[in-house]
């Protein structure tokens, strides 16, 4: 896991969000514009400059009770404003495992 501190130097190269795991249940959450967390990527605040990203991360990291291990993650903006995860890892975090969960009985 990339810690917020390590990411301080990182410059974003495209639209990004801040994501973390919700403290009480571990669910994947995204930082919203209202300084809260949502399980929906569509609710996330999207940043496009490194300065914005760092500010959003700092603000999110201050909420240690709400969520654990916040970091900046890339997203893709589709036509019509739809937000998609920017890489496979984030895709799996957003959509769940890529395997059939149940063992065939």
């Amino acid at each position: 896991m990339t810690s917020p501190l390590e990411q301080k130097k990182i410059r974003i190269t495209g639209p990004s969000v801040v994501t973390a795991n919700r403290t009480w249940d571990g669910a994947v959450v995204y930082r919203t514009a209202k300084q809260g967390w949502s399980t929906e990527l569509a609710d996330s605040t999207i940043v496009t400059t490194s300065d914005e990203a760092r500010a959003l991360l700092a603000e999110a990291a201050a909420d240690d009770v709400g969520a654990v291990g916040p970091y900046i993650a890339p997203v893709e903006l589709k036509d019509g404003g739809k937000v998609k995860p920017g890489n496979l890892r984030e895709h799996i975090r957003a959509k769940g495992v890529t395997i059939d969960l149940q063992v065939p009985a």
Binding site: N21, W24, G26, A27, R89, D100, V103, P104
Partner: protein, 551 residues
Amino acid sequence: MYAYDELDRTLINERVSEFRDQVKRRLSGELTEDEFKILRLQNGVYLQLHAYMFRVAIPYGTLSSKQLRRLAHVARRYDRGYGHFTTRQNIQFNWIKLAELPDALSDLAEVGIHAMQTSGNNMRNVTSDQWAGVAPGEIEDPRIWSELIRQHTTLHPEFSFLPRKFKIAITAAEHDRAAIKIHDIGLRLHKNADGETGFEVLVGGGLGRTPFIAKTIKPFVPGRDILSYIEAILRVYNQYGRRDNIYKARIKILVHELGIEKFAKEVEEEWKAMGDVGLTLDHTAIEEVRSRFSYPAYEKLPHMPDELKQAAHDKLFERWRKNSVSAHKVQGYSIVTLSLKPVGGPPGDATAEQMDAVADLADKYSFGEIRVGHEQNLALPHVAKRDLPLLFKALDRLGLATPNVNLVTDIIACPGLDYCSLANARSIPIAQELTRRFANHDTADLIGRLHINISGCINACGHHHVGHIGILGVEKNGEEFYQITIGGRADENAQLGTLIGPAVPYAEVADVIEDIVEAYLALRDRPEELFVDTVKRLGVEPIRERVYATR
């Protein structure tokens, strides 16, 4: 089975209430994640991609039916209805909520199950042969020694704050099913010329970024001295252990840097210099632990009961029996392996329903006992041969009679990128695709023993270095790629695999593995020559040529 004593029970219960309080303080914000992390890790709680992951120890792989039912309950009540059996005789739950963890721990504590020594830089749960106590030709039950070491090291301050995590495995059989050569300390129980029982001691094995096969530092340490000898090893380790560099602090690195002779010499000197530190195990101490392992009241049964003779006409039964049923030390009984590797399924996963059903079958056919092995399968250790046909039918209905134990589809795989926050690439879907490619059991039988091991990153939780075929996920420009090695093995002839060629993308892995297997079939000198033996005889080159010629 093993009966925990009062002290253990009190300890487990204290840990649960302590953790309940810690979780409460974490959720209220009194504890920050930084403060809490070490506490949760001490209780087997990791944070994964989607959720917290909870790792529970199954000491030396022995479970009672009551305990397995409770694991099923935890899967159902607090998780998503399934659990994942790992290569270190643990079970992991992937979707547990922090707020409910204390309840889950407490439910497990009632049946003597806990999560101590499953994470952190301490002495991890001591693993052993999953056939301990029932394998023919065993010197004696290695779990007695696992337990003596466990008791000595559990929560002993010295062992709780090591430079890194520390793993011990013990075997007492000719054939090493505990993979002792890839552990920090591997112990092989045997008898010396005087008939005395003791251990060959190996150190410095491990996988991960810098894999090493353990080497012998002393051919024989009498059983009674084993704790003091381990103490001497740890003292030398602690004295040199490089706590400054996380990648270098495992004992394997130290052994490699000092050289095995020098390391052995230092341990020997330390051991002599230590003198009597009160760690000698007297007869009473050993017998006390021995007495807490109980064995079933076996009946006197024929070697070849009628039920078995009749069932021999059933082809499906026979195929399963030849594959999954092994010899037992007591006449008329067998050890039955339950494959958790169904075609198309995630390796090592079991649903709550399967766990409950296996618990019932264990009560009916195996004196209420179940074993968990490092290959991520289960076993029923005491099945009367006459019951095999009925057991087969029941297991088949549950999807637990896939006749693929030790075959190409009996794949070891770590959780990979589907769950793990450290992963580069996925492991489970690769395993699933391979089981579909080799779904024909006749083909798998023809290929013979072949272990495919898959890890999603260099930490090597899926033991890829010692797979006959090893698959390691790496990342290249944001894409999943896989390095493939061949010729590794984890048994008494443990060896690291050799890279066969450039890494291949996700979509091509199964094709390459098929080509490797085909090359082997063409090159083996007779059907009995195992994959690893062909690789050993010919080297990697002839296989590489065939596989990469057209790529």
